[in-house]
């Protein structure tokens, strides 16, 4: 009883965190995501070999010492996957952070200030939405050359517009609400209205979409890596899959080699969708980011 009390906020309503932790889907998603994060953080302890070390004969089938087998040069694929988890999640979270900051800033400014500021920003968003993003990402990555920085830049530059649009429409409806209008009438400064009235009310939308941006980053990186446009010095899940395709895993019975990266990407995607969906259900049951 006491414990339950502690988790209830002063106003008597359940806190956001409590609601999230009593949602089965959210717990499942958090458990999967946290396990992946732990694997990523402990990568150098968990992986039995260095990802680039030649440790055994090439194209070995899965065994106790090499759970996913070895690649065309005799490197341990299990170790590559563990290091890949670290890099893929890093790219996912960094690009999600970039997308969230850019998308939120543009969305709130555009929605709140309206008129020509809104018009100009939304035209940019429209253009970026219409231009085929994967294709342009490839184009820019080719020009910039393979590397972590260019991958992050292109993912962020082409990733923020949908988020900006969503935050903008939420801000627009908030601006018309009575409590904001009365603050405007009573002469509250703009930064105060933006900071303590608009922002707190779009925060759940920001979190839900920010989390979804992680999987967007992971898949975009995998696509670029699959085209050989990511750095081949470091392993991400996409690099492992690129090698599997290029070194003919299919013809050497390397099924585990092909399955592993896809399953890890899928697990990340499922975990993130579950969490984002749960946040949506809690904050606004009618709105669904999943249907985006």
């Amino acid at each position: 009883m006491n414990v339950k009390r502690l988790m209830v906020s002063a106003s008597g309503e359940d806190t956001f965190l409590k609601k999230l932790l009593s949602n089965k889907a959210a717990i499942a998603g958090l458990v999967i995501l946290l396990s992946l994060v732990v694997i990523a953080l402990l990568a150098s302890f968990l992986s039995p070999y260095a990802p680039t070390a030649l440790v055994a004969e090439p194209y070995l089938p899965p065994s106790y010492s090499h759970p996913f087998g070895t690649d065309g040069l005799g490197r341990d694929i299990f170790s590559q996957m563990i290091h890949g988890t670290a890099l893929s999640l890093e790219i996912g979270f960094v690009s999600a952070a970039g997308i969230t900051i850019l998308g939120t800033t543009v969305g709130i400014i555009s929605g709140y200030f309206g008129s020509y500021v809104d018009e100009a920003l939304m035209r940019i968003v429209d253009v970026l939405l219409v231009i085929p993003s994967i294709a342009f990402m490839i184009f820019v990555a080719v020009i910039l050359g393979p590397g972590l920085e260019s991958v992050l830049i292109v993912i962020i530059v082409f990733g923020w517009p949908p988020m900006a649009r969503m935050i903008r429409s939420q801000t627009l409806t908030l601006r018309e609400r009575e409590f904001v209008e009365s603050a405007v009438v009573s002469g509250a400064p703009k930064w105060y209205i933006l900071g303590s009235m608009i922002f707190p009310n779009v925060i759940s939308l920001i979190i839900a979409n920010g989390i979804l941006a992680v999987i967007y980053g992971v898949i975009a990186d995998a696509s670029l890596a699959f085209l050989g446009l990511a750095s081949t010095k470091n392993y991400s899940w996409g690099t492992v899959l690129y090698n599997a395709q290029n070194e003919g895993a299919v013809f050497h019975g390397g099924i585990a080699w092909i399955l592993a990266p896809g399953i890890f990407i899928a697990l990340t995607g499922i975990a993130i969708t579950l969490i984002a969906r749960a946040i949506d259900d809690i904050t606004d049951p009618r709105y669904s980011a999943v249907g985006r």
Partner: protein, 330 residues
Amino acid sequence: MRISGKYLIRRSIYAVLTFFIALVMIFIIPRLVAVNPVDILAASQQFPPSVTKQLIIQFGLNQPVYVQFALYLKNVLLTFPPNLGYSYEYYPTSTYQLIATALPWTLFLVGSSVAVSALVGTFVGLYAGYRRGSMLDRTITYSSMTLRALPYFWVAILFQILFAVVFRIFPVAGAYSILDTSPAFSPEWTLDVAYHSMLPMITLVVSTAPVYAIIMRNNVADLVREDFMNVAESKGLKKQRILISYALRNGILPVISIIAVNFGYVVGGALLVEIVFGYPGIGTLLFNAILGHDYPVIEGIFYILAITVILANYFADLIYSLVDPRIRYT
């Protein structure tokens, strides 16, 4: 059923503007990074010196940037067929010729898979939404969410292994069999092409149909609570009639608009799927161009893709405004 003139004009201006910005990006990005524009268009060991000289003059590569841009516009916009330079690897084939051969395959793949996946997704979503909360609804919703989280090209590799290597139902790769000598568009040829396109198409349908299914499901799940649906049910109308004339007609509009929004993604996904199946479209051409640092081909491909996607979006919006009368007055 008429499009208002004002909407048509405004939408056309946006399309042209978007296209122009895309052109500027294609022109500027390589020049921001590359040391010398000659590297992009004319610097290949394969070109005879006379061709290099001709390209430098045609594209003004030794002149100031604004002259280069003007000449670029003249070459790609006002010339037909567009002068996109020559391929480094396949010289003397022009970039335009390479793209013109590859583009129909990609359009065929994207067009047919968008049609099939919108149809499949809409009906699956319709049924799930109508039975919301049921076991079937949950199965459909969660499997759609899972499928959406998978990269297109990974699904392609799995299908290739499963249906072409393990069970030899479909061909491993290509768009037609090399041994088949029947002329183009003959019945045998058409059948062969359809057979070869099955796996890439199924891959794209499996990857994109969930998007439509989820949206349709959410729309219909909301609609079911509306009064007119209750009235229809209490009138004793047949389930089929309720689904088609009430739920489908009201729930399908957002799906149509998503088809347009998603078109760019599907094209991007198709590029990667083509690479897996060695399908001779734009994706495979792009992949080989990336491997061979064939910059004129890469630039040309993005020019064509920008036009294709912007045009598709433009027409999709016009069709949407015909279907949904509300949009005409905004």
